[in-house]
């Protein structure tokens, strides 16, 4: 995992994204590619008024200032970074670029540009790219990503894919716990997953919980900042319509969790 794709936009979630990108790049000795949306396009249509042009100018200046700030930050941290020019719809370009990177860092929830209903955007990205994503909360995140990882095991294909993709990161993590909630619902047992990781040289501790809590709430309580530094899980095991009606663990996690989520579909 040497190529990290980072979404750059000056919003409330940016400090957390930057922090995670920097600690990941340090941990994995990786390079960061920054991709930024071209926001001035909104103001540059055929019937643009003077006010639109002024607004476009303001937006351009803001994003240039943001780029400079990020350049300085990465230079100070001595992390190799480059910019990817982007025109056109944000989601399409992100999907395109994600295919050529090992990991995409975005916010789990964001109120910023083009993220009206962020869970839809995130689920689109997860389903469209086949690549793992690191979803970062808006709030302050831990500096030390390598402290403790939780793998939420359910034996699904998505969960196994996420675990396989996370191996480079897991092997740098000091403590890895696999948790399974409730009765086993098909797929390989948790011991088989632990054996897979042990063969990669990662020591794993497995726990099983049979209590009667709601699975999503239980997982959120395990994934508290300070206790866990990031969580690996499969996303959207069920179809989207079913998820929309009944809700799902993924949706709840996206909305409530306060640590980075490593997700694959």
């Amino acid at each position: 995992m040497k190529d990290i794709l980072l979404l750059v936009h000056d919003d409330a979630g940016q400090p957390a994204r930057l922090q995670v990108a920097i600690s990941l790049a340090r941990l994995l000795d990786a390079a960061v590619s920054c991709i930024a949306a071209d926001e001035t396009a909104d103001y540059r249509d055929d019937c643009a008024s003077l006010a639109d042009e002024i607004l476009a100018d303001v937006v351009r200046h803001q994003s240039q200032a943001n780029h400079k700030m990020i350049d300085r930050l990465f230079a100070k941290q001595r992390i190799d970074h480059r910019w990817i020019a982007m025109e056109g719809p944000l989601i399409d370009r992100l999907c395109e670029q994600a295919a050529f990177h090992d990991l995409l860092i975005i916010n789990a929830r964001s109120t910023g540009y083009g993220w009206g209903d962020s869970s839809i955007v995130v689920s689109d990205l997860v389903r469209a790219t086949n690549q793992p994503l690191l979803l970062v909360p808006e709030a302050e995140v831990t500096d030390d990503l390598a402290a403790h990882a939780v793998i939420a095991w359910d034996g699904s294909r998505a969960c196994i894919a996420a675990m396989r993709a996370a191996v480079p990161l897991l092997s740098k993590t000091r403590r890895v716990t696999m948790v399974e909630f409730g009765p086993h619902r098909g797929g390989p047992p948790i011991e088989r997953g632990a054996e897979y990781l042990r063969r990669q040289g990662i020591a794993v501790h497995t726990t099983h919980d049979d209590s009667l809590h709601h699975p999503a709430g239980w997982l959120v309580s395990r994934c508290r900042p300070g206790r866990t530094s990031y969580c690996v899980m499969g996303a959207f095991g069920h179809s989207r319509s079913r998820e929309a009606v009944f809700g799902g663990v993924t949706m709840t996690m996206l909305e409530e969790v306060r640590i980075p989520l490593f997700i694959a579909h």
Binding site: K2, F100, N130, A161, G187, G193
Partner: protein
């Protein structure tokens, strides 16, 4: 990349697969999981309905059992960690589970036996569903030199990128890595971008770029592989969808049917 999965079935390609899987496991200092696939055969007969099928099944079972026992015996002396899984009758969920937990699946390139159970297709389906690389070994192959030369067939597609990404642990073992590009049939990311990606993983590569002059791409790739005496070829599988490949042919399909070298495929 530590978990190597080998499909065991008594067919012509078994020895090639076995040797390749052993070499790969050793090179990666990994673990070999053998899945013994037994596919029951139904033989149509006239009056004594099922009798021939039953005897054919018994015969096949005996053949598989012998192969299994022989392989297990050999594995004990090869000095790699291994385990064995018996799976009877098509593809029980156990194989799907095991396939999901493998890092690479070893299979054969299709041989021209009309009535063999189509193991290559089964493996490819499994691997493509799980997004894993497949090592497809020709029937005549006996072992692969992982510390030798690797040829990467590059066309800039997401499938080529996936193959590149998936094969990094193998490429790290190679002494020479070459990115081969047919420059009038390339789109998307450049070979330079691919070389840069490899260099971040500490892999030095060279780029060779030629013009197709209307020759078929598969022929060009195989020609280049022969010219540089490559040990294996890394290629993105099924850039187009598979039904289209079936009707119109495609690079993946012709490579799979004509390559004398092992292929590392990913989608």
């Amino acid at each position: 990349m530590k978990n190597v999965l080998l499909m065991v079935h008594a067919d012509a390609g078994l020895e090639g697969r076995f040797q390749a899987a052993l070499d790969l496991t050793r090179a990666l200092s990994g673990h070999l999981t053998c899945v013994d696939v037994f596919v029951p055969q139904i033989v149509p007969d006239g009056f004594y309905m099922g009798l021939d099928s039953a005897s054919a099944m018994v015969a096949q079972c005996a053949v598989d059992y012998d192969h299994g026992a022989a392989l297990k015996h050999r594995l004990e002396h090869e000095g790699v960690p291994w385990d064995w899984i018996d799976a009877t009758g098509g593809l029980p969920p156990r194989i799907t589970d095991e396939a999901g937990l493998a890092d690479v699946i070893v299979s054969s390139l299709p041989a021209n036996h009309l009535f063999d159970p189509d193991l290559p297709r089964v493996t490819t389906n499994l691997a493509l569903a799980n997004n894993q690389p497949v090592l497809a070994v020709p029937v005549s192959s006996r072992g692969i030199t992982w510390c030798g030369r690797a040829l990467i067939a590059w066309d800039g597609s997401p499938a080529a990128m996936a193959a590149l990404r998936a094969s990094v642990p193998m490429l790290a073992l190679a002494s020479d890595v070459e990115l081969f590009e047919v420059d009038d049939r390339t789109a998307g990311a450049t070979a330079e971008a691919a070389a840069q990606y490899l260099s971040r993983h500490g892999i030095v590569s060279t780029i060779e770029r030629i013009h197709s002059l209307h020759r078929p791409t598969a022929e060009l790739i195989l020609g280049r592989a022969k010219a540089i005496a490559a040990d294996y070829i890394v290629i993105g599988a099924y850039g187009h969808n598979r039904t289209r490949e079936l009707f119109f042919g495609g690079v993946t399909r012709s490579m799979m049917h004509t390559s004398p070298l092992p292929l590392v495929l990913a989608h």
